[in-house]
Amino acid sequence: MTATATAEAEAPAPTAKATHFGSRRLRREDPALLTGEARFVDDLHLPGALWLGVVRSTEAHAVIHGIDTDAALRIEGVTEVLTGADLAPLWGGAALPCAWPVTDDMHNPPHLPVAVGEAKYAGDAVAVVLATSRYAAADGAAAVAVDYEPKPAAIDLASAAEPDSPLVHESLGTNASYTWELTPDPDAVEKAFAEAEHVIEERFIQQRLIPAAMEPRGVAAVPSPAGGELTLYSATQIPHILKVMTAVTLGIGENKLRVVAPAVGGGFGSKLNVYAEEIICSALALRKGVPVRWTESRSEAALATIQGRGQVQDIALAADADGRVKAVKARLLADMGAYLQLVTPGIPLLGAFLYHGCYDIGHYSFVCTGVFTNKTPTDAYRGAGRPEATYAIERAMDSLAAATGLTPEEVRARNFISADAFPYTSCAGLIFDSGDYHAVLDRAMALADLDARRADQARRRAEQNPRQLGIGFSSYVEMCGLAPSRVLASLNYGAGGWEAATVRVLPTAKVQVVTGATPHGQGHETAWSMIVADRLGIDPDDVEVLHSDTAVSPTGMDTYGSRSLAVGGTAIYMATERVLDKARVIAAHRLEASPEDLEYVDGSFRVRGTPASSVAFGEIAFAAFTAHDLPDGVEPNLEAHATYDPPNFTFPNGTHVATVEVDTETGAVEVVDYAAVDDCGRQVNPLIVEGQIHGGILQGAAQALYEDAVYTDDGQLATASLVDYLVPSAAEAPRYRLDSHVSPSPTNPMGVKGIGEAGTIAATPAVINAIVDALRPLGVTDVEMPASPQTVWRAIETARGRGGAS
């Protein structure tokens, strides 16, 4: 059973009469998706389009001596084969953009859409084929013969950082792209470690993950040769950013470019990018004057779409005799892959402020080095930096619990930021908005039925049952609602973090909401219509939500980092308020009253104390349209625009408790219970919130148990299909039991925080901590990810070999 009791602490939704806010309204997005009516990029019917096929390097690092196109050109339907050198004039040497130069001296070698002279990773585009059908494009790409001279490759992250490693980009003389540090008071950190009773030092490996959104990427660039415009359809999370970047990269007028993200089949960060294929299709469509399209195959996606995670983490805690943490040190190596994509170098920085987790500690030091390797570039994957940070601190807190003899929940409770400390300035310089971490922990322990589980665990331990039980905690806090533009500026990010909205009332009192947020499964249309309908006192079905097309929604910063509600939703809320303000002026004029004397109730303005004297929203909408009798100086429309730049991040938090059964004879792990308590502030639609948590938990648990982008020593991706890369199915997925706590964020008027990434952030350490908890009596103190049966079995055997077995 999914128990979603809302906390007593829940305050009423911030509207005079919240009919919809907080309700489990079913999604308006569903019918089109359930009937096949929705259109994804590959569904577009584009007569006369040429299909792009991409020839990808089969080598991790190689000089390209020659490209033989003859066989490909003989294939029926293949019209052209173009090498990187042939295409270079189309982008005039401009490289794919990296918008986040995290340090002034960061190395960012040019990343051409199609490589010239040298391939830097298996999957690097080295030539393209144009053909009249998708089959011919695939045949053509397969028939291009490339003469490679393999070079030594830097594959393993830790080795790539060593001075004797082969270099990915020889001209740099190093594989380090940058080193970024945040150590407010180095002496205080050292002192805390010198004085500590307990020092915990751990090294954790964050394996690389393949995001695997179920819809692979797709691109269709459609030119209008006479008018000079180009429409770029892409399975992207960021049509607005993509428009700017494509215009700049190709030197075309932004006014001539329209970007459309049609139905998009999931993203999880992997579609938050500017990819080679988007630039190639656009450039070739403009040159040829016909549509050029490309649809990624799944095995291509494994190589050509960014991957996530990829870190070596060294974390150290200094604690006193009571298990109170005084200082945290984190040292990271972060795998960039062969090139920097849109925000590759910044991903570890999104976690850089959170390696102390939800704990009130004094001193902090974080240093990260971004390292090039001859592998697919990394970039944002659900959580982006924050799952890595949470994993490190939550695993280390369990080590501290073991060292001090405290229970995992006690060591957490002793160190939590207390509820009365908010707003709380952290040792890393953030201001945490709100929360009650102790209340959340208590609720999670109750939901998980902790006492009964511990009794079961004790019984199994006593009887030396081969199926041992483990209970794993993970308490997290994340920074969401990306982001205050000034903070982004201080981090060298190349853009702002605002969001834009327009609320437009039509003559018949139906409403259009235009948003810069760009959904790909989050249910925005439903949620935004609920917010606006409540404010205006109308039916959500009378509110249309327009998005994801830069011709309709010209400004926006798109969807990622759990920002859509906290930033985009706030912009919508503000625009709605402005509409109401204007409507109030018109109503006052009609009622011959002063605007301050009006109240807005159930969709009508009325004079306070004289309810009979009222004017309905519909009448005002029509009056704004006819303009026959508007007050002086009031323009004939009823619409308003708002751009919201958040003053702070939001800080969702929670505690998850995973219970696993580990078969100590085979190493097999089963998640037998998963209890999660999350505080994402006020919830617009709990149905949607729960869905986000469910999916997030499974993605996080999958990192713990199944998923791993495995590279061979010579840089071949061994898991480039869904046969080898284990995306879990319903058969592996546990049942999730959810509860929530609500501490409204004081940062925005609705008190919302964001929930897109929470599950993924929390679940990975909860599951691994549970496995280690099950096996600690056998002497196991760490299990690498993914915790496959073989890995777990080896961990048990190694511990036994050390004499750890009881």
Binding site: L34, D43, M214, L722
Partner: protein, 165 residues
């Protein structure tokens, strides 16, 4: 080229395709039925699931010529012409069993076949029965609940008249 004759969503269709054309591409590219999606190239994801002579099949693992003469049901043929959802679609809607919706057409087709085949579905049966259909968004719980709800609806509808619930 090969001539293939199919009955798709109750309508006779014939098409001229390269012999190597996959059924899923015949449906999408030749018949314009783009509701059936493609999520992989290794028969792993089930996004392409359709009914072939009433049984669920991954249309990326079949050639169009192999389906010659068959009756095919795609997601476009499931709801009423006026848009009224069938019981499985309706249950998916009510249980919030879809987010991005890319896996959904395949999930719905697989679920219809599963419910048809096993009148006494339980949770474990649904989970193992849908093992070949991947969803990256939902974590599956709401999908499982939707299929159980639709199975219960079907069981009620199929109960002989006069039997007590």
């Amino acid at each position: 080229m090969s001539l293939v004759t199919l009955t798709v969503n109750g309508e006779g269709r014939s098409l001229d395709v390269e012999p190597r054309t996959l059924l899923v591409h015949a449906l999408r590219d030749h018949l314009g039925l783009t509701g059936t999606n493609i999520g992989c190239d290794s028969s792993s994801c089930g996004a392409c699931t359709v009914l072939v002579d009433g049984l669920s099949a991954k249309s990326c693992t079949m050639l169009a010529v192999q389906a010659d003469g068959a009756e095919i049901t795609t997601i476009e043929g499931v709801a009423e012409p006026d848009g009224t959802l069938n019981s499985v679609q309706q249950a998916f809607h009510e249980c919030h069993a879809l987010q991005c919706g890319y896996c959904t057409p395949g999930m719905v087709m697989a679920a219809m076949s599963l419910i048809d085949e096993y009148p006494d579905l339980d949770e474990a049966g649904v989970r193992s029965g849908l093992e070949g259909n991947l969803c990256r968004c939902t974590g599956y719980q709401n999908i499982v609940d939707a299929v159980l709800q639709a199975a219960a609806t079907a069981a009620t509808a199929n109960a002989p008249a006069g039997s007590t619930p």
